[in-house]
Symmetry: C2
Subunit: 397 residues, 2 copies
């Protein structure tokens, strides 16, 4: 039996990668045995996935091999899928093995929240992984090719994006840039293409500055997007969506970006959840489990006013840094540090050269906001992989 | 009423384009009124379509705008689809109009011959136009993307090519080059991909030199192709094909290259046909119609031994040249010239750097044959569009 504490990190998303990188830096030799588990041997940059999904960038620019990020002399990497978490046994069951732990970090990412809308799970696609965005990209191109062979099928050229949150808005920004290229490539009359953005909430980008939201919608409307705000999707079928008062929008392509809930593994492990998420303590630990940290989409973190923060890359990264600090502190029997989220600003891209954002307490839009977005993306690459990664993956910016 | 004879050319394939180009050169000012009718405003290089179908070349390299080929001061161009040919009225009915003629040249191209195999028309794709090959290309890529989301569906990675004639063999040559690229792009284990080439005849490339056929099959086998020669497709379903003794090959991608028959418009016009083709007279005219020439896939031309020549690009081009000569001769009341096919050689590509062929009475294989193929393709570009076209479209060679 080893007396070195064993830390297992599930998921190489924003939270898991930042925890790993910080542990790698802060832990001394033989102070802990750290294992990172991930389904793929790469990390993907979720906030960049809207581009390869629309086909405006190569999916390769949205992923980084884990071997390029972590030092395998310091952290073990296991490529596997988590099947079950057993807090009572301090074990994690993998598809092809078992890992026991002293400390567990859960950064597994969420699942699409369909709010019980019938057919959404079966008939809509999601922007959530390299594989899913490659599917969306190929699916969209395929519809253009199919239309040329069956020119009466205008539903091949109708694209429905459910949800006008960040992912939905950023995706339609790219899609509306991509459509003219596809029309040219496939000899399709651009006036036949329809892009709908459907949102049940009374506004796009709920919670964002209303002036910037109006600006964003105007930019996207000019690119041909039809907004249906305050309109719920009632059902998604193989032929399209039924909205509001029963109107059918016929479409072969429905992309659902309307919500994320916690991973079902969290509930199955017996943690108490709200929409699949765990209301973590001030140190980001699961209540009643001093050795289990939960980061990212699976945790609920409240702001000082008592409202939950939206689960963003930014908060997951900060949580990862805090988690690594507390793991080291625990091992060294030092006091833990409470998590305090510091909002560095938020920028949403609207396609090439257009964005909106709030940073340093100021509003930005247009080209300046687009530059800010690039700076944020480059900063992330720098944080996780330093200059070499910026040079390798930063070309798309 | 004009006293100038009116020539209408239906179809801008090999036969129609060569007829047009020669008429443009040989006719004097006001000697005839020539109209070329085509469904698209571009000519496509049918013998090159196997590359964009597999995705090894851009479809743009397989088409040429008709405006770049014909001189619109000399020849009128009408972009429309032929609906009916009425020899008794000397009229052609178009989707959006009517054309009357004194001389008619039919170069409309053929249709896939399915030999009555159930489900082939509905479930298989064909390599026959820019739109159809763009569909095939996108369809293939889409299967890789779908597989990554449903990894138990190995039928997404099974590709069935029906027919081992020239088109089938050239296509699988390209496809087997493309598969490793797609596997890399989509992180797919290449050993999961299957390519079947199914041919009912007792040999691949029937009528071709057996030694070269064996060489071709060996090259393709090494690239991962499984041949099922002497095996008939009994049925094509949405799930794949049923072959020979009832065996099912599950596949989401069936490409049928097994045969071409004449265009249904020919039969509907009242011409006597054999498998949709008209046994033309020595001048390539429809029997009983001194003013109607039929070229390419819709004509049956017999060799001196009484066997029909296969309908190739080469024969269609020579027929076009002969036809233009005879049209000019008719107008000038000069004697017509009988058509005599001169086989300049035949080369089949097998993918990058590999081909087989017979030319100048000699057999060629490997890199030399691949060069010959390129030379033939460049020669064609030169014939129809001169040096400018060679420079513009010849890059792929």
């Amino acid at each position: 039996m080893s007396s070195i504490p064993k830390i297992v990190i599930l998921g190489a998303g924003y939270g898991g990668v930042l925890t790993s990188l910080r542990l790698q830096k802060e832990l001394n030799y033989n102070e802990a045995d750290v294992t990172l588990v991930n389904k793929h041997d790469y990390h993907y940059i979720t906030t960049h996935l809207h581009m390869p999904a629309a086909g405006t960038d190569n999916p390769e620019n949205a992923r980084v091999n884990i071997s390029k990020l972590i030092d395998e002399f310091k952290i073990d990497f296991v490529k596997s899928t988590v099947v079950q978490i057993r807090p009572q046994d301090r074990k994690v069951i993998l598809e092809d093995g078992t890992l026991s732990y002293d400390y567990l970090v859960i950064g597994l990412g969420g699942e699409p929240e369909t709010f019980g809308i019938p057919g959404l799970l079966e008939n809509a696609m999601n922007i959530r992984s390299i594989n899913s965005v490659r599917l969306i990209r190929e699916h969209i191109e395929y519809q253009f090719a199919r239309f040329k062979r069956e020119p009466h099928r205008t539903d091949y050229l109708t694209f429905v994006v459910g949800g006008a949150g960040f992912t939905g808005i950023e995706f339609i920004g790219e899609l509306s840039d991509r459509i003219p290229e596809l029309c040219k490539q496939f000899d399709v009359d651009p006036s036949l293409v329809k892009i709908y953005n459907i949102e049940a909430a009374p506004t796009a980008l709920p919670g964002f500055d209303p002036e910037l939201v109006e600006y964003a919608m105007e930019v996207l409307r000019k690119k041909g997007v039809t907004f249906r705000i305050g309109t719920a999707i009632k059902e998604c079928t193989p032929d399209g969506v039924i909205v509001g008062d029963g109107e059918e929008i016929r479409s072969q392509t429905v992309i659902w970006t309307g919500g994320i809930r916690g991973n079902r593994l969290i509930e199955e492990a017996g943690f108490e959840t709200m929409r699949g998420r765990v209301k973590v303590d001030e140190f980001m630990r699961a209540p009643g489990h001093e050795n289990i940290y939960i980061l990212g989409d699976n945790s609920l973190v409240f702001n000082p006013e008592g409202r939950p923060y939206p689960p963003t890359a930014q908060i997951a990264m900060q949580a990862g840094v805090n988690c690594a600090h507390n793991l080291v502190a625990s091992i060294r029997n030092q006091p833990l540090k409470g998590f305090a989220y510091s909002n560095k600003g938020t920028v949403a891209s609207l396609g090439k050269g257009e964005a909106i954002g709030i940073a340093f307490g100021k509003k930005y839009k247009g080209r300046v906001a687009a530059w800010l977005k690039k700076a944020i993306d480059l900063r992330y690459l720098f944080i996780i992989g330093g200059i070499p990664l910026v040079l390798r993956k930063g070309k798309f910016l």
